[in-house]
């Protein structure tokens, strides 16, 4: 194995990370994304970075093709076949109106319109028994109607298909026989869980994306082959694993959230390397901030997520996204209160200091006023900023109305945006019975390292980590991802001696399915790993907790571990018997991970030399603060805040009383309560 390559297409930039396994050299590059020609964008990025594909043996790719299509409503016309009587399950949804005080609420728009929803005679009961056989002639008629309408992709969701998929499989067989080149997605293959609306939404989303993802990947594969890359192309998935392009063409929905998933995998990797089992990762850019977790070195997943308000029943990275970024706007409300975000100045007009017509102050303007970033920070982005415009905006928008001076106002803005992010971390940790104090915080994205120490202090985290090149962190993380497919089966069974046999045989079935999926991708059998989990609850309860299945599946062992988890998350346990709702299996296969190379160590007694010193405002006063170029830092360097570390796409702020050390691999490790000298 000589070289591994990761290319991650984001909304604005395409990031590239190349790792040479022999020299252990890492190369990163960034280029602008080309939304209209994404595959060409990948090649352009390779070209601009001067990367030759010869010698690349492993290529993993994250793409926003799917997400863009959903956000812009540009998927393919999608048909839906369902059980007679249930044509409108998808349109009806769950009927809730979450915006509680508002009289007006718009439900999410279905991705398959009602005139492309077809009913067929068939019915299963909740235990998978056939109540009415499938009417094959009707399916044939539907095929004809789909053909006439020119539909290229069809989703199939029949009632209780999770319990017995026979009818869905038969429908697929008939449709594929009669419809050439039409892709058919089955609900039980995309998700084996009950709840017909959520499963329908999931399978329709998959079908909506399938032809797009397929065409995109085929195009990319062809172009890569033209440049001499003939191995498999791997795709980053929302569950933090990878799959090969062939599988991605039938599991399109799993390509969503690939960027954040790459970041989360990277975070879990850093966590393991630093010996911190638990890591909060915080990706803050211009308009939003994504928070996710690695727990015990594993990416935190959820099966209860939404994309553009449409539910998705597949395990996805649990990410808490909030509207807090460098472009977040600060304003004084009619009641005299100061608010920051969620509105953002976006790329246009951007912060006031960009001089593109933005008048309201943003978080970036505030940081500029405080001296935490300099005008030169923006040079690599090709921007000339005007600090006086930032000061004007903060003065007019916040300082004057509230009777503060401009620095007080700017520091207030930064404190509030920091507070929003701290609350987002609290939600995702404390809300699940986890204590942030048991985590370290890894910050990336353009604005993450700037606010990380402030956030960490608010939530009681004592260690902040900033890895080299935080601007391309998601792509870096993708190099560490394993193969992974998640399988699930809804069962609803009591945990008692009589049901253990059934549970064991269902798990064996899931394992066989998982093994097939791994083998299809040529994952060697000796690297297969199967991780079993159970969704459990007290009988009578609805929500479940997901726990690892004990090696010996005894009723008392399951009950004890569930009681303990319930106490931790909800504060109490009950004498009630428990039941299993879902069996979950993660089928994994290992990949060759990069081995990082240490950076040059510091010479004994040497101190890093700041490239300049400026006054920076902390806690109500300016302090004389040194600025360091990250390239000048060596392993073993240590310095006390206040200090600023700058690099191409990011700035790390080390406030007073925090202490920075540089580890052997060039990671910045900040002790948030480092006993440094206060300014």
């Amino acid at each position: 194995m000589s070289r591994s390559l990761a290319v991650d297409i984001g909304g604005t930039f395409t990031d590239l990370v190349l790792f040479d396994h022999e020299t252990r050299e890492l190369r990163v590059a960034k280029s602008s994304s080309s939304p209209d020609a994404l595959a060409e964008g990948v090649l352009a990025c390779l070209a601009s970075a001067g990367v030759e594909l010869a010698g690349v043996e492993f290529f993993v790719h994250g793409t926003t093709v799917g997400l863009n299509a959903i956000l812009e409503g540009k998927g393919v016309p999608t048909g839906l076949v369902t059980t007679r009587g249930f044509r409108d399950v998808y349109a009806i949804g769950r009927m809730d109106k979450p915006d509680m005080y508002s009289y007006i609420y718009e439900k999410p728009r279905p991705l398959a319109p009602r005139d492309l929803v077809f009913e067929v005679d068939e019915r299963m009961d909740a235990f998978g028994q056939v109540l009415a056989p499938l009417d094959a002639a009707e399916v044939e008629a539907i095929a004809a109607a789909l053909k006439e309408r020119g539909v290229r992709s069809v989703a199939v969701c029949t009632l209780h298909a999770y319990a017995n998929p026979a009818h869905e499989l038969e429908i697929k067989r008939i449709l594929e026989r009669l419809l050439d080149g039409v892709s058919v997605s089955l609900s039980h293959e995309v998700s084996g869980e009950w709840r017909e609306y959520e499963r329908t939404s999931t399978v329709v989303m998959n079908a909506y994306l399938q032809p797009l993802i397929t065409a995109y990947l085929e195009d990319l594969e062809r172009q890569l082959a033209g440049r001499g890359y003939h191995r498999s192309l791997y795709v980053m998935q929302c569950n933090g694993g990878i799959m090969d392009a062939a599988l991605a063409k039938s599991r399109s929905i799993q390509t969503l959230l690939s960027g954040p998933a790459g970041g989360a995998i990277g975070a879990s990797q850093v966590a393991r390397r630093l010996g911190d089992a638990n890591m909060i990762s915080l990706d803050m850019g211009g308009t939003s901030c994504d928070v996710s977790l690695a727990i015990d070195g594993e990416v935190g997943l959820t099966t209860d997520s939404e994309i553009n308000r449409l539910p998705v029943l597949v395990p996805m990275l649990q990410v808490n996204a909030i509207g807090a970024g460098g472009g977040s706007l600060a304003r004084v409300e009619i009641d005299g209160s100061l608010r920051v975000g969620p509105q953002s100045a976006g790329a246009r007009p951007g912060p006031a200091c960009y001089g593109r017509g933005g008048r309201e102050p943003t978080v970036t303007d505030a940081n500029l006023v405080l001296g935490r970033i300099g005008a030169d920070t923006f040079a690599p982005l090709g921007l000339e900023v005007q600090p006086e415009l930032a000061a004007d905006a903060v003065t007019r928008g916040v300082a004057c109305p509230l009777g503060m001076n401009v620095e007080q106002a700017a520091e207030g803005i930064v404190r509030l945006v920091t507070n929003h992010m701290a609350n987002a971390v609290r939600e995702i940790t404390i809300g699940r019975g986890l204590s942030p104090k048991d985590f370290s915080l890894l910050a990336f994205g353009g604005a993450g390292p700037m606010h990380a120490v402030g956030i960490a202090r608010e939530i009681g985290v004592s260690r902040v980590v900033v890895q080299p090149a935080p601007g391309t962190f998601s792509a870096w993380g993708m190099l560490f991802a394993d193969f992974r497919q998640d399988l699930v089966r809804t069962v609803v069974l009591a945990v008692e001696p009589g049901s253990l046999g059934e549970i064991e045989s269902l798990f064996a079935e899931l394992e066989a399915g998982g093994r097939t999926l791994l083998m299809r991708q040529d994952v060697l059998e000796d690297s297969h790993e199967f991780v079993r989990q159970l969704d459990l609850r007290y009988r009578g309860q609805e929500h479940t907790l997901t726990l690892p299945a004990p090696p010996e599946l005894g009723p008392s062992a399951v009950k004890e571990s569930f009681d303990e988890a319930h106490r931790r998350v909800y504060g109490y346990d009950l004498a009630e018997p428990i039941e299993i709702v879902n069996l979950r299996l993660a089928a994994r296969g290992a990949t060759d991970r990069p081995e990082l190379k240490p950076i040059d160590a510091v010479e004994p007694g040497s101190q890093p030399v700041p490239y300049r010193r400026t006054p920076v405002y902390f806690d109500g006063a300016f302090c004389d603060t040194p600025h360091f170029d990250r390239a000048d830092l060596r392993a073993g360097h240590a310095l006390d805040g206040p200090a600023i570390v700058t690099e191409a796409s990011s700035t790390t702020v080390i406030p007073p009383r925090a202490r920075l050390t540089v580890d052997a691999f060039g990671f910045l490790i900040v002790d948030t309560d480092g006993g440094g000298h206060a300014g």
Partner: protein, 600 residues
């Protein structure tokens, strides 16, 4: 550190975050679907003067009523000096602080270093607390038929669960003791976690600063709301709507009359002229009425602002003594929330004349309950399948009404889950074609759900706006009304809107139809492509396209017959632009008109 704008905001965020955490806690650990699926609960936190400081999303009906529960507790125990750390109180008095006995409030005094600094409180709807029918009855004539009333009791005394209370409640309920205990523990758990987090917040900022900031938040909230009211021209705005009946006197509509009196930054919701006390269970107590007025006020002035007591200070209700809004013991109250929904609509409609809030045509009635309960044949346990069905919402300028939507966070029961848990088989679940009121913008569609019963059950139903239909606006037509068709195994059929303890044998088929929303604007002005979309999607028939929308479709091609459509649309003038429902005259004569006008 003084209470500057930044710190005030930090405290605001902290309080919102605390109530959000309380909400997550209860949703995830409650046993009853009415709590975790229907979100029939609310969560709030108060200062020691029982002023709301923060509250979390749940069911809006509840939100503003929680302080009344805290006040009732304080009154019943004889003052806060009789409370101890670790005490948790339970109360459900429907004449002071709940809409019905099933709404059980848990109140926990919160202490910082021994000093009372406020209260955390959670209210949930316990699915059964006795009464003459499972879930509820539509024909109760006194509270004693509606469930167990519990004046303030200690559920926990200084940290210890009072098992006697749980025993007493379980003995009076069709719920299992474990479900009852699970739901109550979830409430207590949320209150405890709320108090713990608040103590952490106070630790961080210091008690004095914390209190100053909380007070400042109330001042800000009031300033915000008053600024919004000042934008409304002073005057008296009237509107009138009706409930079909009170469940007992089935031929007599219940009148809701609102005079919205705006004077500078104050608003009074004067309910004079509304019906007197009902014989049936549609009464509301004045505290609850006041809370509902606050909710309507908030939807008009600051729907997206996090709210505290300050936001509600400019509004108050005027409730006449002899009124459906002044329930006195022992009058029945269970379905007061139906009255409440129509009250919100009525306030909203009155306000629309003052150019506040967007005009929205009538909805199907906020929720239509069709609840089935009985003994599960598998193990003989009591089951209750609570189904608050959604329906069509009203159209508004620029947009059709939403299809199949219910108030607040209530969600429907997935078919796959229902069939696993309850002895039922769902045969169809679909949108109800043609149910939305015609208009330039069409009312949303109701739903049709057909369920075969696999066991003997009893049905409790409350379908509203079956007689007094969801109104249209500005020439829009009313939506179709709601009803339930029951097909008995002996082939007998019957149609009901409201019923209590209606015994249905296994094999019966219950098919409910919820109403559509009212339309907005003249249907003949509806864009032809929208009419054709509706046609293609099966929401209307070709005959309806022609009769309601004056769009002719060529039967052979399925395309618009342009010349005929043009002449049809040109030939008829606008039906009515008085602002009243065009079809008012066509509705049965016993149907009272909905009205609105401005005085003054």
């Amino acid at each position: 550190m003084p209470a500057d704008a930044v710190t005030i905001e930090l405290i605001r965020n902290a309080l919102i975050s605390v109530t959000g955490e309380m909400r997550t806690k209860i949703m995830r650990s409650a046993f009853s679907p009415i709590i975790y699926e229907s979100l029939d609960f609310s969560v709030a936190f108060f200062n020691e003067r029982v002023e709301t400081l923060a509250q979390a999303d749940g069911l809006p009906y509840f939100l503003c009523d929680l302080p009344n529960a805290v006040r009732a507790v304080i009154e019943d125990v004889g003052g806060v000096e009789h409370m101890r750390a670790g005490d948790v109180f339970l109360v459900n008095d429907p004449y002071r602080c709940s809409q019905h006995p099933q709404d059980v409030s848990i109140v926990k005094p919160a202490y910082y270093r021994g000093e009372l600094f406020g209260f955390t409180a959670v209210r949930v709807h316990l699915i059964d607390l006795g009464g003459k029918a499972g879930f509820a009855s539509t024909d109760a004539t006194e509270i004693f038929q509606e469930g167990l009333v519990i004046p303030t009791v200690h559920l926990h005394s200084e940290g210890r669960l009072n098992e006697e209370i749980v025993r007493l409640m379980a003995a009076n309920s069709r719920m299992s003791r474990s479900t009852m205990l699970g739901d109550l523990q979830a409430q207590v758990g949320a209150c405890i976690v709320g108090e713990e987090r608040l103590v952490e917040v106070i630790d961080r900022y210091g008690y004095e600063l914390y209190r100053e900031c909380c007070d400042a938040l109330l001042v800000q909230g009031e300033a915000y709301a008053r600024a919004k009211v000042r934008e409304i021209p002073d005057g008296r705005y009237l509107a009138e709507l009706f409930l079909d009946d009170d469940g007992v006197n089935r031929d007599e509509p219940v009148r809701i009359k609102v005079s919205l009196v705006v004077d500078d930054s104050d608003m009074v919701v004067d309910l004079t002229g509304s019906s007197g006390p009902c014989a049936g269970p549609y009464n509301m107590n004045p505290n609850y009425t006041n809370a509902i007025c606050r909710i309507a006020f908030k939807s008009l002035t600051s729907p997206h602002e996090p709210s505290n007591e300050g936001h509600f200070r400019p509004v108050r209700a005027h409730v006449p003594d002899e009124s459906v809004f002044n329930a006195l013991r022992p009058s029945p109250v269970f379905w007061g929330f139906k009255t409440a929904g129509t009250l919100v609509d009525c306030i909203r409609r009155a306000a629309t004349q003052a150019v506040v809030g967007q005009p929205v045509a009538g909805n199907y009635g906020w929720s239509c309950g069709a609840h089935v309960f009985g003994e599960h044949p598998a193990d003989g346990s009591f089951f209750a399948m609570v189904d608050e069905a959604g329906g069509g919402w009203g159209a508004r300028p620029g947009a059709d009404g939403e299809d199949a939507m219910v108030m607040g966070g209530i969600r429907n029961n997935p078919v796959e889950v229902s069939e696993r848990k309850f002895p039922v088989r769902v045969e169809a679940y679909e949108l109800r074609a043609g149910s939305g009121g015609a208009g330039a913008f069409r009312g949303g569609l109701g739903v049709r759900r057909a369920t075969r019963l696999l066991a003997d059950v009893r049905l409790v139903a409350n379908f509203e706006r079956s007689q007094c239909l969801p109104w249209g606006l500005h020439g829009g037509q009313p939506g179709q009304g709601s009803f339930i068709d029951i097909h008995h195994p002996d082939n007998r059929g019957e149609r009901v809107q409201k019923c209590t303890n209606h015994a249905l044998p296994a094999g019966s088929r219950v098919v409910y139809f919820t109403g559509g929303g009212g339309g907005y604007g003249d249907p003949r002005e509806r864009a032809i492509e929208r009419v054709m979309d509706d046609l293609r999607r099966g929401h209307i028939t070709p005959a309806e396209a022609e009769s309601d929308y004056a769009v002719c479709v060529d039967q052979d091609t399925g395309q618009v017959d342009v010349p005929k459509t043009r002449s049809l649309r040109a030939g008829q003038g606008r039906s009515d632009d008085s602002g009243e429902t065009a079809a008012d005259g066509a509705i049965e004569t016993r149907q009272p008109h909905s009205r609105e006008k401005r005085e003054g």
